[in-house]
Chain length 251, copies 2
DNA sequence: GAAAAGTTTTCATACTATGGTAGAATTTAC
DNA sequence: GTAAATTCTACCATAGTATGAAAACTTTTC
């Protein structure tokens, strides 16, 4: 008999996490009813869960609605201080930043998104802001490095989950062009992005691999304003980035 | 029968939060049994909750045990980008940092702890690191500014909850000396800390008040190495900090 | 290689989360 | 100003989920 492979489940907890994710994706306060409709939960249920989260400071509220709460900040700190990959990457980011004078970042995948989890600023300041923890797409820039070696099934799942894919120019990225970009990243072992996620920005990234499994577990990237990096320098930078990424050893 | 005044409660969710808090306080991976004993939960229960949290990436694990997971980073980002106090403080931190050349921070209380939630680096680099999101005590440095106006009951609750209070010298802070410090902060409207939490560090902080309730909702602080700030300059800096703190208007 | 320590699975049961409903409270409309 | 929406909170019987004891299984220790 084919029993559905059922992973462990706990409805109330999963629902609470659904609510937190909605709040984490919101850029402004949300009303109870909005949260309820976005999560598909009953109002009463949503309100009860929010009440608990509020007493625990995982959410805050005022007249305008509910927001992410202070105590969430402790979790992020714990992550960056205890994660072995981040620890292994830190000195490498540091060295790469001083060798290139550019800003270096470590990106990690989380579900169908990614975030910068560590960063060292170079002496040449970046024009734009890209804070640690911002939820970024996998189909642009360094994101492609993170999904370059997904299995065919995983990639299909990704493509159906995230459509439409929009870039900095507000143009749609076709799955064909993404697939070919990914193939190239896989073949070359790096990715150069120009104005993909941010107009005027250049980034060069290379995969960080697990020492045990050799799977891609992160992406090391340098970021710069396009005008700061003349075309003929990118190749040398690519070499540096690849070498640095390979120097990071973690599981 | 005396029914406890019961605010809304959800056992499974509260337990999950308990587990997360244990992981957030840990500086190294924790085994299942450790988490179970620290939370007082049954092994099976702990494992089931952790399994759910793991599939949602709120925790990670490897052979060494469980740690905070990547997705926690999104929550912190959401907090700092949506919180009105942080938004209101940001330009003030910026200005104060450039006027004083020192590093400025906004601290917020969470339960019986506090954290820096925003920071602007001054041109004079600090010797030590104090990252955003680190869980810090309320009884040292700028923490005192945050609890200067607690009610007598609240302060008693705090004192019984956090003992013993240890400073950077590994000496115990008596509740008497804390009480007198708090009274002084309340009277003067600022606090000057020397080598309290960090040996060799100086910090000056002033309360940020709610525009509606006038309650203390944050502490604005400047931080420096003690040798960088001659004694006779502290008074002028104190004026600057107080003025800046008063300029932040939020609820 | 045996024992200990740690982790996962199973399962019957108790008790908790659930979602109607109704009533407050707040906001909006007029 | 009052009425009408809209949003939020409280209540409660019931379904169904979370629970923890025990046992199976895995990994580490000695």
């Amino acid at each position: 008999m084919v029993t559905e492979k059922d992973h462990v489940t706990m409805r109330s907890l999963e629902r609470a996490i659904d609510i937190l994710e909605v709040l984490e994706d919101a850029s402004m306060p949300l009303r109870l009813v909005d949260i309820a409709s976005r999560t598909g939960l009953h109002n009463a249920t949503t309100q009860r869960i929010l009440a608990v989260l509020e007493t625990r400071r995982r959410v805050e509220r005022d007249g305008a609605g509910y927001r992410a709460g202070v105590s969430l900040i402790f979790g992020a700190h714990a992550y960056v201080t205890t994660n072995p990959l981040v620890a292994a990457a830190r000195p490498v980011l540091q060295e790469l930043a001083s060798r290139t004078t550019l800003t270096t970042s470590l990106f990690v995948r989380s579900g169908w998104h990614r975030a910068a989890v560590a960063r060292v600023h170079g002496s040449r300041p970046l024009g734009y802001e890209l804070p640690i923890g911002a939820k970024l797409p996998l189909f642009l820039g360094s994101g492609k490095t993170l999904i370059a070696e997904l299995s065919a099934e995983e990639l299909d799942a990704f493509l159906t989950a995230v459509e439409p894919m929009i870039n900095a120019d507000r143009k749609v990225v076709s799955s064909e062009s993404l697939r070919s970009d990914l193939a190239q990243v896989k073949k070359q072992g790096f990715h150069v992005s120009r104005s993909e996620r941010q107009i005027g920005a250049l980034s060069i990234s290379a995969p960080v691999r697990s020492a045990r499994t050799a799977n891609i577990i992160g992406a090391l990237a340098i970021g710069a304003a396009r005008e700061d990096v003349p075309e003929h320098e990118t190749e040398a930078l690519t070499v540096e980035v690849r070498r640095a990424a390979a120097a990071i050893v973690a599981n």
